[in-house]
Every structure is written in C-alpha cells, then in structure tokens.
Symmetry: C2
Amino acid sequence: MRPTTSKRTTRAQSSTADPAALATTLAERRPEDIVDLLNQNKSGFVAAVLLALPEAKAVAVLDQPRLRHGAGIVSMMPPDRAARLLDQMSADRVADVVREMRVSVRNDLLVLVGAETKSALESLLPYPEDCAGAIMTTEFVAVPSDWTVEQVLAHVRAVEHTRETVYAIYVLDPQHGALRAAVPLRRLIGADPKGNVLGAAADLQPLAIAPDAPLDEALRLISKYNLLALPVVDVEQHLIGIVTVDDAVDTLVARQNAEVQHFGGMEPLSEPYMRIGFFELLRRRAGWLCALFLAEMLTASAMQTYEAELEKAIVLSLFIPLIMSSGGNSGSQATSLMIRALAVREVHLGDWWRVMLRELPTGIFLGAILGVLGATRIAAWQLLGLFDYGLHWMLIALTIAVALVGIVTFGSLTGSILPFILKRLGFDPATASAPFIATLVDVTGIVIYFTTASVILRGTLL
Amino acid sequence: MRPTTSKRTTRAQSSTADPAALATTLAERRPEDIVDLLNQNKSGFVAAVLLALPEAKAVAVLDQPRLRHGAGIVSMMPPDRAARLLDQMSADRVADVVREMRVSVRNDLLVLVGAETKSALESLLPYPEDCAGAIMTTEFVAVPSDWTVEQVLAHVRAVEHTRETVYAIYVLDPQHGALRAAVPLRRLIGADPKGNVLGAAADLQPLAIAPDAPLDEALRLISKYNLLALPVVDVEQHLIGIVTVDDAVDTLVARQNAEVQHFGGMEPLSEPYMRIGFFELLRRRAGWLCALFLAEMLTASAMQTYEAELEKAIVLSLFIPLIMSSGGNSGSQATSLMIRALAVREVHLGDWWRVMLRELPTGIFLGAILGVLGATRIAAWQLLGLFDYGLHWMLIALTIAVALVGIVTFGSLTGSILPFILKRLGFDPATASAPFIATLVDVTGIVIYFTTASVILRGTLL
C-alpha cells in the first residue's frame, strides 16, 4: 500500500537510452514518482520521454513543482506540442515554467498557446518571486451571488476538471464583481438546491490578500485559519486568483530546507547532495566560507594590537577560544530567537527597543552564570594543582568572569538587534544573520577580553 | 477584507475582568482570532469565557491547536459541561487535550463523555508523539465499495458536519473492510449518480501509512503527493484514521520554529518571546549555553598543553580565532547539509561512506582555498610592512595554510558524519548536532594547529 519507489529499478530503467520504451514502463506510475526518476536525466531526454507519454500523464508530470528544469524541458519540445501541453497545465505552474525561459523561446511559444493560457500568464507573470501573486493560480471557481445552489453545483460539475480546487467556491457581487463570500463545497452539497448560494456561505467576510502582499503573509493566513485556498483580490476587491494549500506546503518545505542551509552558512543547493556536481557543490560552499574567513581575518588584526599584552601574560591566550565561543553562542541564540519571532510576527520592527530592554538583563544574567562557571574552573584547577595560572590566578579568574559578562551581554544585544537591522535594510534576516553575528561577536569579544584584562591586571601581570 | 486583529482593542478587552461581557464581544469573531486573545489570559478566566460563549463557538475555539493550556482550561470547567464540549470537538484535538490532563481529571471526564468520543480516544491515545497515529483523526468518511454514487453523496450530506474532511471519501471492501480506494468529492459530484462509487476513484491503490510510522513520513507523503488527507491503515489494511493537510501544515510550521531555535543552541520556547516570563526565558537559554561552555572548557585544557609552544612563538596565538572559526564554519556547513539530506531522504543511514567519499576531497579543496587566502594575508601584511611576523614569516604562513587544510577537512568529515551517528543512536540530528560539532571541531582544531606548527617550525621558532 506504501508507494513502491524502488531506487534500484528506476535507476536501471533510466539508463536505457530509449525514451519511448521508458515512457511505456512509466505510463502507469504516479506523476510524483515519475518526477523522481526524470529528475535524474538530462532535459533533452526528459522532453523525449514526456512526448512519448500519454498526453494527460505528460501534463500531470509537468504540473509537478518538484520537476527540475521545467523551462529547459519544454524548450526542447517542438513548439506546437509544447504549447498544447502548456494549455493543459495549471496556470500557476505554466507561469513558473515560462518565467524561467529564455525570452526568445518564450515569445515563440506565447504565439502558439491558447487565449486562456495567454491571459492567465499576463496576470501571473508580473509578480515578483516573494509575493502572494507569484504562487497564486487563476483556476478557481467563481459564481455570481444571485445563483441558486443547484446552478452553482451544475457549474462546478462542468468546470471541475479545469480547476485547481473546487472545494472553495467564491461568490461575487453580480454588479461590480467584488468578492462577497467563500462557500465550502461540503456545505453546498448539503444545502437546499433551490436556495441562494449565499445561504451556504460562512457568515463572515472571507479572508483575502493583495497580490503584492508578502508570500509569508499568505502562508501565515493559510496556516492560521486552516484554509484550503486563500483568495487574492485587487484594490477593488475583485478576485484575481487563489493561493492553494498544496502550494503553501511546497513553499514551507522548500523554505525549511533553504533556511537550515543558510543557517549552516552556505548557498542552498539546487540539487540533492548526492547528485550535485563536485565543483557546483564546492562553489556553493566556498563562497560563504571564504566570505566568513575574510571577515574573521579581522580577529587576527585585533589580536595583533594586543601582542604586547600577550607577551607579558601568555596565560591570557589560553582562554581565547572559550571566551570567543561563548560570545558566538549567546549571539546566535539571540539571533535565532529574533529571526523566528519576526517571522511569526510575535515581534515587529518597531519593537526593537522592547527587545533590547529584555536582552540587556538576560545577557547580564547569562554572562554572570558563565562567569561563575569559568572562574570556578580556574580556581578548581589551581587549588587541585592541575595547572598553575601563576601568582595572580585570582585576578585572572576575575578577568575571565568579568569579560564573560561583557561578551555575553554584547552577544545577546547584537544578536537580537541584528535581525531587525537586516530586515529594515530589506535583507532576509534568516539568510544573512548567522555569519554576520559570528564575525562581529568574535572581533568584539577579543577587544572586550583584552580591555577587561588591561584594567584588572594593570600593575600586576600587565 | 484582511483580518482585523487590532492588538490594542483585544488587550483592552481582556483587562475587563468580566468573562460574560468579553464573551459577548467575542461571539462574532473568528475562532482563530479568539484564540490569540484568550492565549494572553489565565486558564480559569479562559474557561469562564468559553462557558459564556455560544456552545458551537466554544467548540470551535477549543478545536484550535494553537489554543494553549487546553487541558488546564477544560479541567477548570464543570465536568458535565466539559464532557459536552469534548463530545463536539474533533477527535484528534480531544486526544491532544486529554493527553495533557492529570490522570484523576481525565478519568472523571471519561465517564461522562459519549460512546463515540470514548472509542475515538481509545484508538488515538496510545500513539506516542512522533508517529503518524498521534496526529490522525478518526473522523473520516468511509463507504462500502458496493454503494452507488448517489448513496455515497446522501451519506456525505448526513455526516458532513461531524467529519474533519469530506473531500476524500474512502471506499472499503464490504467483506473484510480493507481500504480499496480513495475518491475525491470533486469527482463524485460530477459522476453518474446511479453508477458504482469505484467508477469515480483514481485507478491506483491509494497511498496509506501505518499508525506507528514516523510523523515525518506522513508529512513527506502529504507534501509530495499534494494530499488533502492521508489514510492510516493497520496491518490488515483496515482504515483507522486520516492525517489531514491542515494538521500537516501546523506541524511543519511548529517544527520550523523549533528547528531554528535548536540550531541557535537553545530549548524551543513554549510561549512567544515577548510574553514568556523572564526566568523561564533564562532557563531555556542558560541550559544549552552552560552545556556548551562546559564542553568548550576543553579548549582551555587543550591550550594549556601547548603553553610551552605558545611561550616560544607568541605569534601563533594571533591566528587561533581565525583557525578555530574556519573549522567551526566548515563543520556546521557540512552538518546542516546532512541534516537536510537525511530529513528529506536524499541520503540514507547506509550512505555514510558515500558521503565521506565526497566530503574528503571537498574538505581538502575548501581547506586549500582558505589556506591560500590565509597565507596571502600573512605575506601581504609582512611585505607591505603592516605587521612583522618575524624572520620565519614564510614558515608561519605555511603553518597556517597546512593547518587550515587539515582543520577544514576534519570539520567537513566530522560535520557530515555526526548526523548519521546521532540518528543511528536514536537522537534527532537537527536538535543535537550544532553544539556537538562546534565543541568537537574547536578542540581538535587546536590540536591540529599546534601539531602542524610543531612539525613545520621545529628547529626554527619551536
């Protein structure tokens, strides 16, 4: 009953170079599983396989957002065949594919597609990637508010196979076409056939979103209100599209992958780890790693200014890794907290000073806890005779403790405020914060540490 | 048309201590928005508000997974009222609430609830938190395969208001009750009323999952196959529940929050940042921070063993932060890559050696790139007269370059293998990897650095 995706079989099949033979063995499989297999092949081969598949199946495969290089695949087909497939695909997916095409190919194809596809593309293509309009589809069911339940059901039956979802039916004002209600199909089939469609509607104004609203806001509404589809309306409340829950799920999953990879300090991979080329993998990782390395070179410069202090008190160098990692850890903790709080809207840009007011005492407390631990460690090693920190070991312990309070407080404050600054400047905090904070806190940590030392140890070690 | 959640108004309302008055102003709001407001109040007050609301609205509010302390709220109601509300809630949510109750309260209530609720609880409660059974609901529509379309539609109309979803209808074998097909409602309403229900089914065996399968697997299937609901079947293919897409979305969103916070090295917060108590916030952050600090103390121990080398060549200490951060960065990069690859099943536990075979050359290459950058930096500063690294500056540059190759390679290898080990031992790699890898790589980085130095600089500086 589980999906039978035997990797071994599909790989063996894909190595047979005959697209027609492969198409025959694939015809009975689910489109999602066919995608898994085709993704391992070159665009030209995939195009040939799709052309050899029954047309409905080829359309179902092309409709999958997980199919890679969709634009390249379609570009390799004879234009008339390509146009016929595009005409049958769901509008939002056609827009995704066409968006990636070279302009010359795109223009050739747009002459050949049907009027409906063309008008859908005209309304979908203009939206930039990160807004609700970019993942909406125009294939929804809308009816005038003076229809009966019976009329609506007949209409649903007629258009069912060309609509992305029919489970939410949108009721429009018959005069100005403004969105008045959303009717769930489940309510409709139980309602009096002769009654007005509005009788089956929820009594509230439906939730809706503007096409240029952030994608995040669409995801938040769908998740919070458990919607199967969210209407997208223009300023005059005309329904121009819907965002469906399955696109929301796909976006959430893709975003989760990208977020973890960003957090790990790299460009998200476009292909699975095992399949991506060696040099492509290297390129995606080397960029960030080099940027971080160049930034961290500042730590060497910072250290150089304290060479005199280090020569006098070599013991100070022993704690540099410990001090630096504490600053980094407290900073990335505060950063990850704020990234989430901003993303789920628990805090807003204007709340930055409230956050600072919480982080200041939190940082001091956390730093004090670590400071006590650090000083205890030094005292324990000294008194147990495990290591000799010299005559002034108590002052050294004090230096470590005070420096930790300073560094953890600084880390918490910078870590929490940085996502606000990045967001204000128009960057995505999740992408940019982690590397920034590490470098910033490391360099400052060195400065705080040696400044503390020069105050406490003046006249004794320094 | 947007949801009008004016924070100011709702906060003002919640400060009026009269639950009945508040209930009156809330009665017309969406349940999701009522939850936002009630979450700011104590359980006793929330119970009183819910009892004063119209019963259907109270049920809708209790049905929201985002409502906090559901068990506490229900426990504070008179048992007969509580039981009546539970009877009307969706089965999976009742199970979530009852799971959190103190045993005494739970037993009192279970005597009072209806037979249907009781049997739903009996089948839902046994499943542990991280398996498909834990988020499934028993409120699905199932019909025998010898029914006509007309019969099924009549049944759907009759049970619609007590089912979580009616958009997927499950067709069972009339003899043994095994799941035979899933029929989308949209297909059914267009089908011939007199025809057999199986005529409207997709031709393939429906996807299904076992109740003890990992929750992740359910999420993966729902997301990959764009399902509105995934059937859960026992070993004899009897349908025992369904996992709906809205629960999958809720789980994805909650998990994303937890993952980023884990990655930042802390226990995920149970409440929004701005509302959580100061000491609770401290507790969640201090735990990890202290654990990391204690582990990082090993760096001080490692440094102590190289005190003699440091005294002879103080210049070596200048590059410690740079070297350590490079190891940490390459390690966390490799870790985050593998966490994702394992989570989305691009790689499997048995692939560990294949991953090592990729990471070894990748690490050497990345290390070499950083090594060249580092050596160039030293040469540049020396030749431009910005800093004097002494007579043997070329050997120092060589030491840094070689150490970087070793550390980045080690970081990439350990970082990529650690998620495999943690997963094999039964831990969640996403939760546990980040802190482990930092400490491991930091300590080893020091050892690699000084070992390299002692080989290259022997007879000159050391």
